[in-house]
């Protein structure tokens, strides 16, 4: 499903290296290295993450899922590849301050997110998902559950 996931680990290393080289001080100073941890407070180190963090704290998933439970793939390779790519993307964006606001989820991360929903709720929604017409044409959970991670956009 994800060509990148099966892609070469070398690329990961290169990207990670580039990320570290380019943005080491940025990462350090902005406490961005904590990005590699699973602690939600690590995400909230960046003020641009404050709103989602606060939303998550109030949200129904607070007690059961942290940022990475939703935003990082649940298989080992996918998880670390994702962390590498996201880490690179993050430090670049933060250093250059060139990102679109409001922040928009990337397509790849949206797919990972869908996988996370199914990781936890797969049995419950099995019958609904099974009526699928094609593998690349899913019922997108966030079509209805818009605010599930960190509160509705209101």
């Amino acid at each position: 499903m994800h060509p990148l996931r099966s892609g070469s680990a070398v690329a990961v290393a290169v990207l990670l290296g580039a990320a570290l080289g380019l943005g080491f001080f940025t990462l350090f100073h902005a406490e961005g290295l904590s990005y590699l941890s699973d602690d939600p407070r690590a995400c909230a180190n960046c003020h641009v993450m404050n709103e989602v963090f606060e939303g998550w704290q109030k949200g129904p998933h607070h007690a059961v899922a942290t940022c990475n439970d939703c935003h990082v793939p649940h298989d080992f390779l996918g998880k670390w590849l994702s962390k590498g790519l996201n880490g690179f993307h993050h430090s670049k964006a933060f250093t250059l301050q060139d990102f679109h606001e409001p922040i928009q989820i990337t397509r790849r991360n949206a797919e990972a997110l869908q996988g996370s929903c199914l990781h936890c709720h797969g049995e419950f929604v099995h019958e609904v998902v099974a009526a699928q017409r094609a593998a690349d044409d899913p019922v997108r959970c966030v079509h209805c559950h818009r605010g599930v991670g960190h509160g509705a956009a209101e």
């Binding site: 049995e123 419950f124 929604v125 099995h126 019958e127 609904v128 099974a130 009526a131 699928q132 017409r133 094609a134 044409d137 899913p138 019922v139 997108r140 079509h143 209805c144 559950h145 818009r146 605010g147 509705a152 209101e154």
Partner: protein, 474 residues
Amino acid sequence: LVNIQERKAEARDPYLKLVRVGDDTTDPTAWGVNWPRQYDSYRRTVDTTYTRYGGSDGTPARSRLEADPWLVRMFAGYAFALDFRERRGHAYMLDDQRQTRRITERPQPGACLHCHASVIPTYRRLGDGDVRAGFEALSRMSYGDAYAEVVETGSLNPVPEGDTQGFAHEPGAHPVSCVDCHDPQTMAVRVSRPGFLAGIAALAAGDAPVPHLASIERWRRGGRDAPYDANADASRQEMRSFVCGQCHVEYYCGPKTTLFYPWSQGLRVEQIEAVYEETRFPDGEPFYDWQHGETGARVFKAQHPEFETWSQGVHARAGVACADCHMPYVREGALKVSDHWVRSPLLNVARACQPCHPVAEAELQARVAAIQDRTHALMDRSAAALVDMLDAIAAAKAAGAGDAALAPALALQRKAQWRLDFVNAENSMGFHADQESARILGEAIDYARQAVSANQTRAAIPPASNAEKQNAER
């Protein structure tokens, strides 16, 4: 504990099939053995429900002619002036059709069954495997003969366990059934109605922008080689509306030509009108539905353009499908399933609306009421204009105006009626596309009142018109 284990077991293979069902299995009871949750809710479409402008109520259903007497004048000379009722649940579609005075007192074609029965296997049988050919054959028959064919198909495909379980239809002929919307192997939704397949392909083949139907825009960019095929090209989310668009659409199904959906120029009210204006019957005569009983104008009849109206609204643009609101997911034990009790979402706001709109139910009801009340008030206003128009034309005729002199007024009547009926026949009282519905009514008022003051009618209007009376009351 047993409970939990049971539920976990349930969850593992929801599609464990106990009974074989196939493309000819129209009897829902057979499917119900395999998918009891969906079947149970499907059966609830017999229930009586009630909302301000919707719901389904009474046997027979409430008469819309009695609720809005101006309809009788608008439909003068047409079967709809005999009998026109509130819609009811899917369970009743075949009975209500068979009982309407439009069928019992007027000859009607077999084409009527296209949307009121689980009819595809009959098409296939009559067409020797070619559904489209069978559809054309059945459509040409009388309603009675066609109905007998549907019953015959049923008797050729008996289902052992089949019983009607309180469902109000004759054995053999069924209202819309599982096979009409589902592939029996995979249970994926599919569309089967020849009218829809041809209509949506014609829409795709045209140029009208359809920003809410991404698969059509994509197909157009792709070179348009093979015709657009909804079952192959549409996304799952689009199919969640297309299955309803099989029937909840404007159509022509009279005796003079084969049933068709008039979408080749687009889905908006004036695009459909343009198609009708250009269409000729096979005998070369310009298209029309009927000749108005009071004025003699040749006019068009609009029927339930839900799919077309939804297409103009912000929900369609946002990718929200009919099934999202009318068949929302519901928790059944350890599983989440689609609610097959297709009905007014206002009876089910928590599931139909609140996942997307995290707002109090009363507030959501109030927002819908604001939209519907506005539409209703503007519809009453259009109706007053229509009645004034009919009075004015009648007076002009009485004063001796001939066909040629009346022609401009009659042309305006045709435009006015078409628009007013388009919103009247649509069943959401404006909700599916609120501003668009108001715009259409604004145009209806314009044309109706222009007809009143059109050259040839204006001299003869009686002193106090209805509008003046109505204004005085306000």
